[in-house]
Amino acid sequence: MITLRMEFQKIRRKKIALTMCALICVQFAWLLWSGSHPDESGRLQGWIEMLHSLPLVSVIMMPTIMSVLASRLADVEHKGNTYKLLNTLRRPGELYHAKVICGLCFILAISAAQFIFVIVLGYARDYAGHPEWNYYAKAFVLNLACCLSLYLLQLLLSMLFFNQMIPLVVGIGGSMLGLILMYIKMYSFLPWGGFLSSAQVRMDWNPETRVIHFYYREYSTLELCAVFMIFVWIVVFYTVGRILFKRKEV
């Protein structure tokens, strides 16, 4: 608990929350812009469309946002050269835990803000009916899990490398890979494709009538495995990160 409190003290005045807010606001602006004037059909399918748009926006932005967050939290130690000092006071595992929990707090806040925004936007646009809460709850949990898996990967890299360019480039490359994978298939076993696997809504576009129809996806066994893979990545990155951090030469 003391280590966690210390973690929050270290990032005081670092404006990490402000940075995250600014980046999430770009996502909000994108969502606002993407369906700014819904017609009657848009209003009828509004809630389900939101569940389609959100993972697609996340797959592009979240890998980079998570790399920024992890880099900000890890860079405090690199710049201050504090690993040696901290490890004499606390066990290295505790410091790693504190970083993970600190990041998780930010991720929780980001995910909550995303869903609150989507719901408020839906009501403001006068979408028909109400959101289907069970799908929204599932989307929230899966979104959180995807962000956490990416954060753990980025934290691992940011802690290991003094040169923060390496984790940041991995984040940008991950965003790009996720975006490209979206055009190939709607699931992926890669950590950056988790948002695609977790998208519960699919789109059917008729080129002749130009009508878009959204529907809830029925997962095949392979797609379910891809969703399960998100949680596997969390365990893998957490375990590997903890082991490597404990063994890190200070």
């Binding site: 670092k14 940075t19 600014a22 980046l23 770009v26 602006a29 994108w30 812009w33 592009i60 932005m61 980079t64 946002i65 790399s67 920024v68 880099s71 900000r72 860079d75 710049k79 040169n163 923060q164 360019m165 940041l168 480039v169 940008i172 490359g173 965003s175 790009m176 890979l177 975006l179 490209i180 055009y183 190939i184």
Partner: protein
């Protein structure tokens, strides 16, 4: 000025020696080219403009979203060398004019961006040849390259300024990503030429290779952004008290 500029460039090259930061500029376009070519081959019935179709498949996402972030990463790295430890002390007391020191950094950023752009075009040519496109390589490609490079230099100036003012390594990269995304909006609303992150994409004709753009506006706006942000950066270096960490 000339000698001090060369000395500054040499000093920057020494600082970057054995640092594989340029690798990202070669790795990411490969991913984009690989998947772009695959998508082109899979949808060859719809994408019938040969080189032009392949070009938009290669560059659409790369230029709009990821090249600004990559340039941002490199610029952040250039200033990070000074932001860490006590390096500001030696940087600011170096027996060279501040403008030369700044131009040394800018030259490195521009060099990597130009080489990155060349690599994009090389991949485009290689992939087009391998996929068996019969028509000749488009002559306009030289214009795309020159216009794109000019836009990339403007992005370098903007990002160097942000990375100088903001001590954090990652925040300017977030700004670059957000800038690239906002560029989509600006281009869609016909303000692309007024916005630095869109100038690069418009210059490269990433969205539509057949697009007609005003070259004079692109040149004037790019040079305008370069002058404004380079002046701001040098002014910041001269006037602002930069404390060593």
């Amino acid at each position: 000025m000339h000698t001090s500029y060369i000395r500054a460039v040499k000093a920057e090259s020494l600082k970057l020696k054995r640092s594989p930061v340029w690798l990202a500029f070669y790795a990411l376009p490969v991913i984009s080219a690989f998947f772009g070519t695959m998508n082109y081959k899979l949808n060859i019935e719809v994408l019938q403009s040969e080189w032009y179709s392949l070009w938009s498949q290669h560059t659409l996402f790369l230029c709009y979203l990821f090249m600004p972030a990559l340039i941002g990463t490199y610029c952040s790295y250039l200033w990070r060398l000074e932001h860490t430890r006590h390096n500001w002390n030696s940087f600011l007391t170096a027996p060279l004019p501040l403008s030369s020191l700044y131009l040394g950094k800018l030259t490195q950023a521009v060099r990597v961006s130009v080489l990155g752009n060349l690599w994009i075009f090389a991949l485009f040519f290689i992939c087009g040849t391998l996929t068996g496109i019969q028509s000749p390589f488009p002559r306009e490609a030289l214009e795309w390259f020159l216009c794109g490079t000019l836009g990339a230099v403007a992005v370098c100036c903007v990002q160097l300024f942000f990375s100088l003012v903001i001590r954090s390594f990652s925040i300017p990269i977030g700004i670059a990503l957000a800038g690239g995304i906002f560029g989509l909006y600006m281009t869609n609303h016909d303000y692309g030429m007024d916005y630095p992150y869109s100038i690069y994409c418009l210059g490269m004709r990433a969205n539509n290779p057949n697009m007609e753009i005003s070259i004079s506006t692109l040149v004037v706006n790019s040079i305008g952004y370069m002058i404004v942000f380079a002046t701001l950066s040098i002014f910041y270096l001269r006037r602002h008290e930069i404390a060593a960490n």
